[in-house]
């Protein structure tokens, strides 16, 4: 049973339920308490020790039902008893032909339980649980049947067919062989859905992470939900880092050691009371997102990131611009992710870019948002339609804020080609990175923001 539990845990991991070794030990301990008698109790006991969130409970339930689905194999009923007596003379002989093979015996007797057991054992030997790809299914089925001894059956059938009196046996055995093959296929199918379906999804996520998001046609609508989930996970990770020190404030705690030390000067009378003081660092982010025509393909991705950031970071000022710049905090707060993106794009999206104009709007209206705790994140391609880039304003932003981070959806080789003034802006950025795939974004969130975003 130890082995079965291990297999089950592997199936859970494949279904994206994270099970650590310690949890596996807990599960084993839980089972020693409950035993295997009561299926519901067994299931609930495993559930409370292995699944750790409502999502995981759902996936646990599904995996449990598939994994422990042991329907009786659909075998034709044994027909020995039902046969008329006149054929009795050939029975001993034909069954004698099948005698050499335990499998043939079980098939003829319609012993579903025995067959199921034999299939389990064969599956273990054949390593069916190692299945990874859907293309492996037919090969796995063949291997499973070989392990069960199908070759013997086929020999017996062939041998029986050659003799006139063995025909009946051959027919019967052949029908059962077909049933067995169907069962083996179903078994492998189940194993595939247990172990391989999850890896297919993670493969898909990996592909998506590497896909350039400003590629032609933008993001496939099918992938959109997955992308939003991925981006949200990243933003949440960023925010987790934030929440760590945000709440630690000045506490009215006596610092006994310091107080005693100070009191020495007054003969041990604690005149001056020393308090434990912790510095409060109030970080904030100002995010500015370009949604003009030139970044149209990537705008959705950039806005998704902006939206997720707004959800998880408390002190975030979000702005969007093409020609003019507006604050989009309200739009992001009040709408769902798709609605918000659509609304931002409707309000100011897809117009002529004018970085100079946008920066001017920013410095006229919102420059007071910047102080030495502020990190400015600019999402845009730096293509200014040959308008005055207003580097003086960019310098001003750079001087006032703690860090300026520019994430550009174009690869670095395109910077300063055509109307791009990226390299000129770059001088006033602490970091400027290309960011057009989820994988790049992830790395930026991990590395760059950790260094530059104050905790």
């Amino acid at each position: 049973m130890q082995h079965t539990l291990e297999e089950f845990i592997r199936a859970l991991r494949a279904a994206d339920v994270r099970v650590s070794p310690a949890e596996a030990i807990d599960a084993a301990r839980a089972i020693t308490v409950t035993g295997y008698g009561d299926r519901e109790l067994f299931k609930d006991a495993l559930c409370v020790s292995l699944a750790k969130s409502p999502d995981e409970v759902e996936r646990f339930d599904a995996t449990f039902e598939t994994f422990f689905a042991r329907d009786a194999l659909a075998m034709p009923p044994p027909d020995d008893g039902g046969r008329p007596d006149d054929s009795a003379d050939d029975t001993p002989q034909s069954d004698a032909a099948a005698e050499g093979s335990a499998l043939a015996q079980m098939l003829l007797a319609g012993d579903a339980a025995g067959l199921a057991q034999a299939m389990e054992q064969a599956a273990q030997r054949a390593g069916v649980a190692e299945i990874r790809l859907s293309t492996q299914r037919s090969r796995m089925t063949r291997r499973l049947l070989d392990e069960m001894g199908l070759a013997e059956i086929e020999q017996i059938i062939a041998a029986a067919r050659r003799q006139a009196e063995g025909r009946a046996l051959a027919e019967r055995l052949d029908a059962r062989r077909k049933a067995l093959v169907a069962e083996a296929q179903a078994y492998v199918e189940r194993q595939h859905s247990l172990y391989a379906a999850g890896s297919a999804r993670s493969l898909r996520e990996e592909m998506l992470a590497k896909k350039a998001l400003n590629a032609d046609g933008g993001i496939d609508p099918v992938d959109l939900a997955m992308m939003q989930a991925l981006v949200k996970r990243m933003a949440k990770r960023l925010a987790d880092r934030y929440s760590r020190r945000r709440h630690i404030a000045n506490k009215g705690h006596l610092d006994v050691r310091k107080t005693l030390r100070k009191s020495m000067a007054h003969g041990g009378v604690p005149f001056e009371i020393e308090w434990k003081i912790k510095k409060i660092d109030k970080p904030s982010i100002v995010a500015i997102c370009d949604v003009s025509k030139s970044v149209a393909a990537a705008a959705q991705f950039l806005l998704t990131f902006l939206y997720s950031l707004n959800e998880v970071v408390e002190r975030l000022d979000a702005f969007a611009f093409s020609g003019r710049m507006i604050s989009v905090n309200e739009i992001l707060d009040e709408n769902g992710v798709e609605g918000a993106i659509l609304k931002v794009l409707q309000t100011i999206g897809f117009q002529q870019t004018d970085y100079g104009r946008a920066l001017q709007d920013f410095s006229e209206q919102y420059l007071d948002r910047l102080d030495r705790h502020t990190t400015v994140i600019i999402l845009g391609d730096g293509r200014s339609n040959f308008a005055e880039p207003r580097l003086d304003l960019m310098k001003q932003i750079h001087d006032r804020s703690r860090a300026v981070i520019w994430l550009n959806p174009e690869p670095e080789s395109y910077w300063s080609q055509g109307d791009s003034v990226m390299h000129r802006y770059e001088r006033f950025c602490h970091v400027a990175k290309p960011c057009n795939t989820l994988a790049q974004l992830e790395r930026i969130v991990e590395d760059v923001l950790r260094t530059y975003v104050p905790h």
């Binding site: 994270r18 650590s20 310690a22 949890e23 807990d26 301990r29 839980a30 308490v33 409950t34 519901e40 109790l41 609930d44 006991a45 559930c47 409370v48 020790s49 699944a51 750790k52 969130s53 409502p54 995981e56 409970v57 949440k236 987790d240 929440s243 760590r244 945000r246 709440h247 630690i248 404030a249 506490k251 705690h253 006596l254 006994v256 107080t259 005693l260 009191s263 003969g267 041990g268 009378v269 604690p270």
Partner: protein, 317 residues
Amino acid sequence: MTISTTATRPPATSPLASVDALIAGLGSVGYIASRRIATALYMAVNLQKPILVEGSAGVGKTELALSTAKLLNLPLIRMQCYEGLDESKALYEWKYGKQLLYTQILKDRMGETLADAATMDAAMDRLHGMGDLFFSEPFLEPRPLMKALKEDGGCVLLIDEIDKSDEAFEAFLLEVLSAYQVSIPELGVVVAKTPPFVFLTSNNVRDLGDALKRRCLHLHIPLPEPALEERIVATRVPDIEATLTKQLVAFVQTLRTLDLRKAPSISETVDWARALILLHADSLDPAMVRDTLNVILKFEQDIQAVEPQIVELLARR
């Protein structure tokens, strides 16, 4: 304080003997538990692990801990978490005032004691010989966690809304939850004689860390099925008529299918049942529902959304 390493199995007659006994036991103290809840509790007892209870507000997370304490006849120690909660409020605090007084007394006494020491070395030896009481248990002010560890007969420790606390505090809880002990730098390790039953509740405001989740059994309490909810209402509000219970549970269940900011949960249903009893209602009519809607819906927008449809919703079931 020592740790009891051997977990003693409860005797067969106790409510902890089996899952069914637990369900019955919880029922006797007024908590209608589903099988999964009872199993989680049973496993927690047998594996000596904390339970992390998740679910939306008002599904009975806190109530489960209260009922368990009542069932086992153990004291309940409750710690409400909030942003900025730290160990001095959760675990222990030094009694600063007394410590300062102590230094005063010490100074006076010290002169007397050391006056007759012949040499400096002798004085130092004598000084080392004196007990250092400055950081010692008499000056310790125990807070909920410490109190729970010090209950020698065991207790139920409820750490409410753990998701409201910050990550640092979560990390600090790990030692308490896995080994039932805490380290106090000045004193050493305090170990519980009888490990407390620990319940942590979470509304999922923030994702909890994996380390914390790993140390706990996980229990998610969903909104109940109609039949279960009817039983809960009947238990909590014994005076209510069966037909009214059926009607109001059906109405609440319909409300939950709507797109509301906060769908009513069990506690709202029970409150509503109580309100209706006070108003001597014996069946639901639209006027009555309209007047008492604010008991089950907690947002003005929700009330405005539901109000025009009351008649239709009542007819739907």
